[in-house]
């Protein structure tokens, strides 16, 4: 597991809870410390039996370079969402990982095929896209890039199933399934509000009244309007379909620093 941030640490916990031996590679010392504390907590929740949780914790080795983890069967990258960073990691994996290893990226918005390019073994590269928080969310999108082999996809599916999660195989297209198909949930709300048809509270009430757990405005406030807008932008810029064009209202709010809960103000006020 490369990168021990929000996603990497959670994925490592799920894998060790499912009896995998895990090397968790993290460059930053501070992130390693945070990850160690987070792992204890997550494993405690995943495995209520204290001895089991402790054993699972013992199956994870926190290290600071891929050079210390050269015997892996499966490598999963979860470093920040920057193409060059990911490519550097994959170039390193191509040098250090065993020839038969499965190489996977947890990217949400980059093309798996692009990330795989510097490896020279694109047939072994797939996306394994977890959702946040990864230890809890059951869905995992297994991304088949153009050059991914059937065998690589099969191994990724099997891995996800062994974690007790539900794999859905998707093609390497912008936003895959979930981040793409969810766009209208936010965009239609933003468009209705921008057109003056309703305010945020009304939109949320109507949609929560239809069974959505959280209305789109409350949800954008929780996710962060900037993070949500970045996802819409990345899908739009990769497709240029009018349906998915980012909302000018959301762009204005982000420019004004109305980002949601984290800035105390988004569609709603959260006090200072």
């Amino acid at each position: 597991m490369i990168g021990a941030g929000t996603m990497g640490a959670g994925i490592a916990a799920s894998a060790s809870a499912a009896n995998y031996e895990v090397y968790l590679v993290e460059l930053a010392a501070a992130a390693r410390e945070r990850a160690a504390a987070g792992l204890t907590k997550t494993l405690g929740r995943l495995l209520p039996d204290a001895a089991g949780a402790e054993a699972a914790f013992g199956r994870i080795r926190l290290v600071d370079s891929v050079a210390q983890a050269t015997s892996g069967d499966i490598y999963i990258e979860a470093v920040p969402e920057v193409l060059d960073l990911k490519r550097t990691v994959f170039a390193e994996l191509a040098r250090l990982a065993p020839a038969g290893a499965l190489l996977a990226t947890n990217t949400s918005s980059l093309a798996v095929g692009e990330i795989a390019r510097p490896t020279g073994r694109a047939q072994s590269v797939v996306g394994i896209h977890f959702f946040n928080p990864p230890a809890v969310m059951k869905l995992v999108e297994v991304v088949r890039a153009e050059q991914s082999s059937d065998e690589s996809v099969r191994r990724a599916v099997e891995f996800v199933e062994r974690l007790g999660k539900t794999p859905v195989v998707v093609r390497d297209t912008p936003g895959f399934v979930v981040n793409r198909v969810a766009r209208p949930y936010y965009l239609e709300a933003l468009r209705a509000i921008d057109a003056g048809a309703a305010d945020a509270e009304c939109v949320d009430a109507v949609l929560e009244g239809l069974g959505f757990k959280m209305g789109p405005c409350r949800l954008m406030d929780l996710i962060g309007l900037d993070v949500n807008l970045a996802t819409t932008r990345s899908v739009y810029e990769a497709t240029h379909v009018e349906r998915l064009r980012p909302s000018p209202l959301q762009e204005r709010m982000v420019a004004e620093g109305r980002l949601g809960r984290k800035s105390s103000r988004g569609f709603y006020d959260y006090g200072a």
Partner: protein, 237 residues
């Protein structure tokens, strides 16, 4: 308590059925109307006429004209404002002051909040009657602006459309798209299963309404047209 007025519900889909059932449960004398003759016969005795036609635009217009013709001057006409705007519906009735648009996507049983929308000519009194009626059926109401599809319709239809485009583009199978959306988001149903429940022809009608008013971005995906049993129009505009 004074006996409740007579309610007539025109239409066949889940929306019509759900409103009829809720009205009966709330103690109204309610009947379903299936055709124009039934409209002519029953609407003159109705305190509240609910239009919940199937998707087809021409038939919806025909029904609203017939209901408007037969309606008593103190009655309320509730028009389904998802496949056409409230202003359009109100104009078709010829009784725009008595007409209030409402938004119920599928069965009312699945919907706790109902959007209400007025045409430029709708009387305040009609709005109040509409609020009271839905309150009587145990529903909250919200007044919203007259934008195509209202909020409930445009959201469910646009989600189904994006899901259908994703299938069309080979991103995943229809079942996998629904499974991914249910597990990966907080949605109560997969978008395509939801569309089937509501009626795919109704989803297409909502998209076509959006397309008419807001442009090509709402063009229904070929898969939805196929599911609705419609063939894509090849006429160039």
């Amino acid at each position: 308590m004074a006996p409740k007025g007579r309610v007539v519900v025109f239409g066949r889909g889940p929306a019509a059925g759900g409103i009829l059932r809720a009205a009966l449960d709330a103690g109204y004398r309610a009947v379903a109307l299936k055709d124009l003759r039934a409209i002519q016969r029953e609407v003159p005795d109705a305190a509240i006429a609910v239009e919940a036609s199937a998707a087809d635009h021409l038939r919806k217009r025909e029904a609203l004209e017939a209901i408007g013709n037969a309606l008593q001057p103190h009655a309320l006409l509730l028009a389904d404002a998802l496949p056409a705007t409230a202003a359009e519906c109100a104009a078709w009735t010829g009784q725009p002051r008595l007409c209030v648009g409402y938004g119920v996507v599928g069965s009312l049983a699945d919907q706790r909040v109902v959007e209400l929308v007025r045409s430029p000519a709708t009387y305040d009194e009609a709005m109040e009657k509409a609020r009271a009626f839905f309150a009587d059926l145990g529903r909250e109401t919200r007044d919203v602006g007259d934008r195509p599809g209202l909020i409930c319709g445009r959201t469910i239809a646009a989600l189904a459309n994006e899901a259908a485009w994703a299938v069309t583009h080979g991103v995943a199978s229809a079942d996998d798209v629904d499974r991914a959306m249910q597990l990966g988001t907080n949605y109560p149903r997969g978008p395509l299963a939801w569309a089937r429940e509501v009626g795919v022809d109704r989803i297409v009608a909502i998209l076509e309404n959006l397309q008419r008013h807001e442009g090509e971005a709402y063009e229904p995906a070929p898969l939805l047209l196929k599911m609705a049993g419609k063939r894509k129009e090849t006429v160039t505009r």
